[in-house]
Symmetry: C2
Subunit: 366 residues, 2 copies
């Protein structure tokens, strides 16, 4: 059922479909993909149409758990199995320009932006969009990679030198108060449920901390209406995540994730139904589960190296999710979630978890 | 790490140790044990000392997930690996007489009882303990099997005819208002946490419904003190369950479970930390997690055949746990849990789940 499911997003590796009685198998180019421990693994290249078609012939639904699966490979499977979320949603999320354009078409506010394909084009974009701004590759950027900031016109040459030759997008900087994300789920029957907004804190381009629920009735309503427009337009089935900036009291859409999302890991312990279970329910045509928060939740990513399990679990309300990856600077190797009865207690314990994570990351890079 | 972990208790099959970064392997006589899907499976007989010793040599901790693993096989592994919970606790839970005797030694109230090894012994036991009462095999009884009720002296012959020749125990009937169970967890460092009392409803000897928390401060305190005595006496590590009758406002201990327990499945979604996670934390020497309930939870066992997933998941707050077993009258094939914001809503939705289960069981036996 899953094309490439060996990643750290836990739902497949954790066997999320199994309690619902749903059998699944995985397709991955790596023969040692860790998902192979929990489900039959078919090994094949993402551009091996024949192998993919054989895989799809055996399943009812094909999905993906990695944003860089080629959308064309999924398109080729339509007719053999239901592809959920749709290949188009994946294609949009893979291309920052397509993403911004669909936001604009649906009336969802974005930062001013322009496509850039040449040095002259970058000059025009900077003139039109303004400074400061950020030049990004349209594809394959993540965790702050593939980006160059421009603060003055003199930065144009260096930015082009770093990224030029690829398809790019130039975006104005958004002076934001905070980063928020909304995860919504659309069932195969079109029913939609929304999780509460979550607040995200990034450091060096990597998500460090998510806190949820972030309570703001007006922003929640605005975010839900944006997601509903996207879900309908894309004929989406499954969990869709959108990252927003909150700038001067309104939401500015930044990017989409056509899958379960790191900023939704708090739902594992912090919500009535986890994003993983709701994703599987949606893909399988089952009724969606409740999305209400249970208390005040936080999720802390561990980057580089995992703290000792005993230290993490000594924090009240904490749960550990170890991705079983070898340590490497900048790599997400696990996360902890916690649920507390007040936002204040949640923030206090989250600081302890952040501190544990920082100590490990610091020792790793010394 | 686990001797026989292929059962429906979900923790091992669901990969409970994995998020904590703990590797595990399974030992089972059945080459097709379903646990083999999630962890390496070593196939061997429970009395194959050599195979068990080879298995134990590779692990730090050995545990069990089935009450009929021979306690002697575990005893033989001491010195090679830590056996948690201890083999003695398993031996006690396997023998209704040993269980009642340890209750009595620790001052934990039980029904009047007597050992029975002959027809004459049964006559003496009935004279001493009184009528009505129940004759039970000391070993291998579960879900109401291996039991015969005696209402008058004339029933003695039939009861002996049904069960005689094995080691037996005769117990007076306890006129109880309700059945309650307490699950407690003792860490490797001796720290103890208790879940709230749960109320259980059996039908034809099989657990149908658990509701938690059952709030009664005096009974909770009494149950906790009983469990603390047992945990200390057995030098227990892991989750221990005790089933009680509530009779005239006090607790009467009925039996123990030296493992995670069916009446604790509500903790998967209904408590801060599930019994599975806390069991793994205890076995692994990690700090224990919180046991507070999150709302009002219920667990409904599905017996015989599973209702359609779509029907179960249409019940607000419901989660499905499918054991992927073929239908058979009287067999536990899965369960649903639900969490609601009030006891009243919980009871209403639990009735819907019970009704779904009854309809399936009814069709199966027609």
């Amino acid at each position: 059922m899953v094309v490439r499911g060996a990643g750290p997003r836990g739902g497949w590796r954790g066997g999320a479909p199994r309690p619902l009685g749903i059998d699944f198998r995985l397709y991955d180019p790596a023969p040692d993909a860790s998902g192979g421990r929990v489900a039959p693994l078919v090994v094949g290249a993402f551009d091996d149409r024949r192998a993919l078609e054989r895989f799809a012939a055996d399943v009812d639904v094909v999905t993906f758990d990695w944003e860089n699966v080629p959308a064309d490979s999924l398109r080729a499977l339509r007719g053999r199995a239901a592809v959920r979320p749709p290949a188009r949603a994946l294609a949009v999320s893979q291309d920052r320009l397509a993403e911004k354009r669909i936001f604009r078409r649906l009336g969802i506010p974005t930062a001013p932006f322009a496509a850039v394909n040449s040095l002259a084009g970058l000059r025009r974009a900077v003139a039109r969009v303004g400074l400061p701004g950020v030049l990004k590759t349209r594809r394959l950027g993540y965790d702050g990679k593939g980006q160059a900031w421009l603060h003055r016109r003199a930065d144009i040459g260096a930015a082009w030198g770093a990224l030029g030759g690829r398809s790019l997008i130039y975006e104005a900087r958004v002076p934001f108060q905070r980063e928020l994300s909304l995860l919504s789920v659309r069932g195969a029957d079109g029913a939609i449920v929304h999780y509460p907004l979550a607040e995200n804190r990034h450091e060096q381009g990597i998500l460090r901390l998510t806190s949820a629920p972030y309570r703001d009735r007006a922003l929640q309503a605005a975010a839900e209406s944006h997601l509903e427009a996207l879900l309908a337009r894309l004929r989406y089935v499954g969990v869709l995540g959108v990252e927003f900036f909150e700038a001067e009291g309104r939401l500015v859409a930044n990017e989409t994730a056509a899958r379960v999302h790191n900023s939704g890991h708090w739902t594992i312990e912090g919500s009535v139904t986890s994003q993983f279970e709701n994703h599987v329910r949606a893909l399988s045509g089952l009724p969606l589960g409740g999305t209400a928060p249970r208390g005040h939740a936080a999720m802390v990513n561990f980057i580089g190296r995992l703290p000792a399990a005993a230290d993490v679990l000594a924090v009240p309300g904490a749960h550990l999710h170890d991705y079983e990856k070898s340590p490497r600077p900048g790599r997400k190797v696990g996360h902890a979630t916690l649920v507390a009865t007040s936002a204040r207690a949640r923030d206090r314990e989250a600081r302890r978890l952040l501190e544990l994570g920082r100590r490990e990351a610091g020792e790793l890079t010394q």
